[in-house]
């Protein structure tokens, strides 16, 4: 039986009727039309689907949309404000923290969470904080550099 859910995504209200088995990632991409969060593995491993739920990073392929009823979600689309990239987005751009870009929306959301918890992380803390996000292209070093740059610690 379908259920009605009401939630806020990137500050905007959404109300929809959904099947309980609808995964949040499918709701975001196919119902709300937000294709920034990607589907990589769909098995809770790669982190490409990472979004913020109540301010904490979660894998939206491992959550039902009904669990988000009444909650606040931020996707990669919600970061840039007034045409200016978020500092984390800008740092990934400047430091070549991406190649194909497939993992990037998840990497950036996980980085938002990492810097919120620990504003000046070490290399090791960055790697630990991004353990739930896989990248097939960059070899991670440029991602670590981007996170350091975003933390205002480039070259440190």
């Amino acid at each position: 039986m379908k259920r009605k859910i009401s939630l806020r995504i990137n500050g905007k209200p959404y109300t929809d009727e959904v099947e309980p088995r609808l995964l949040l990632i499918h709701y975001l991409r196919e119902v709300a039309g937000l294709t920034g969060p990607h589907i990589g593995c769909e098995t809770s491993i790669c982190g490409a689907c990472t979004v913020m739920l109540q301010g904490r990073a979660v894998k939206s392929c491992t959550m039902f949309a009904v669990q988000a009823d009444g909650r606040e979600i931020v996707t990669i689309e919600g970061l840039a404000a007034n045409g200016a990239l978020d500092p984390v987005q800008q740092a990934f751009w400047n430091e070549h923290g991406l190649q194909c870009g497939f993992c990037t929306p998840g990497m950036i959301m996980a980085t938002k969470q990492l810097l919120q918890d620990n504003p000046s992380p070490t290399d090791l803390e960055i790697r630990h904080g991004l353990e739930g996000n896989l990248c097939r292209c960059t070899g991670y070093q440029h991602i670590v550099n981007a996170v350091k740059a975003a933390a205002g610690k480039a070259g440190a």
């Binding site: 259920r3 309980p20 990472t50 894998k59 491992t62 039902f64 669990q67 904080g129 353990e131 739930g132």
Partner: protein, 281 residues
């Protein structure tokens, strides 16, 4: 990766939830970090999912009467970062920090992890070493089970149909105690191939209390009681660690044979003991 269709309920109170769970093909949803992957693979296909996420107060952490009480719905992240847990049960906070990745720790819960009882889960080792008590309730019962009697087999616990884990009670660790958790993380899944949690108290240079919990090695987590006894009788840590896992069944898979797992349990018991001894005052 779409689960079979199911009905969903999100009770607002514990009574309502227990009433629902008293009958029918219903499964609890906590953090969903084990249940949802299983439902996606259709290894689980409950007719109804009962989400505990809307019941206020199931995730509280309080300290009273020499015990820390942690609500079943406390997330791994909450356990890892809670000032009360870090101060009074640092072994548990340290263990939580080893679970999965940050996204998993943000959703996964203490109650869900122990109810699921994955043989490779991290928490059971710490709960055994901490001699935790697990409060379990149903619509018509309320009982407490010692951690040592809770983990019965792979994915099998002492929970009866209709029962849920309500909270975990842990005796406050003495500040003079040393503790350590050493884990071999599976390179792909991050779960414990083997994990050993240790607590030690020393007096005048002698070990007077030792507790060792081992996860990952066998079908369920266990206490290494023979090694504990040797330590308390004055044996060197290397000698005690060498008997860890003796007489216990060991799992075998493509990544690690039973003999190798037993070997890892001993090596990591030794390492965890070294860390615990360096922290004990």
């Amino acid at each position: 990766m779409i689960p079979q269709a199911f009905d969903y309920s999100a009770p607002q109170s514990l009574e309502e939830a227990l009433g629902l769970l008293a009958s029918g093909d219903r499964k609890i949803l906590a953090g969903g970090m084990s249940l949802i992957p299983m439902m996606k693979l259709r290894l689980a296909a409950p007719a109804e999912v009962v989400d505990l996420g809307r019941i206020a107060g199931l995730d509280g952490i309080t300290e009273a009467g020499g015990f820390v009480h942690i609500g079943a719905m406390a997330t791994h992240h909450t356990v890892e970062t809670s000032p009360a847990v870090r101060a009074s049960c640092p072994l548990l906070a340290e263990t939580a920090s080893h679970i999965g990745d940050v996204q998993v720790r943000n959703m996964g819960t203490l109650g869900g992890s122990i109810a699921h009882a994955d043989p490779a889960a991290d928490y059971p080792a710490a709960l055994l070493a901490l001699e935790a008590e697990i409060r379990v309730v149903s619509a018509h019962s309320d009982r407490t089970v010692n951690a040592a009697d809770f983990f019965l087999d792979a994915f099998t616990t002492a929970l009866e149909p209709g029962e849920i884990v309500l909270e975990v009670r842990l005796p406050v660790e003495q500040s003079s105690e040393g503790y350590g958790y050493e884990k071999v993380a599976h390179p792909a899944s991050g779960f414990a191939v083997v994990g050993v949690a240790v607590r030690i108290t020393r007096e005048h240079g002698r070990i007077i209390m030792a507790r060792i919990g081992v996860t990952g090695m066998g079908p369920h987590a266990f206490r290494a009681r023979a090694a504990e006894r040797l330590l308390e009788e004055g044996a060197a840590p290397e000698r005690a660690a060498a008997v860890v896992g003796e007489g216990e069944e060991a799992n075998s898979d493509l990544y690690a044979s039973a003999d190798y797992r037993r070997h890892l349990a001993r090596i990591h018991a030794r390492r965890a003991l070294a860390v615990a001894l360096s922290r004990a005052s």
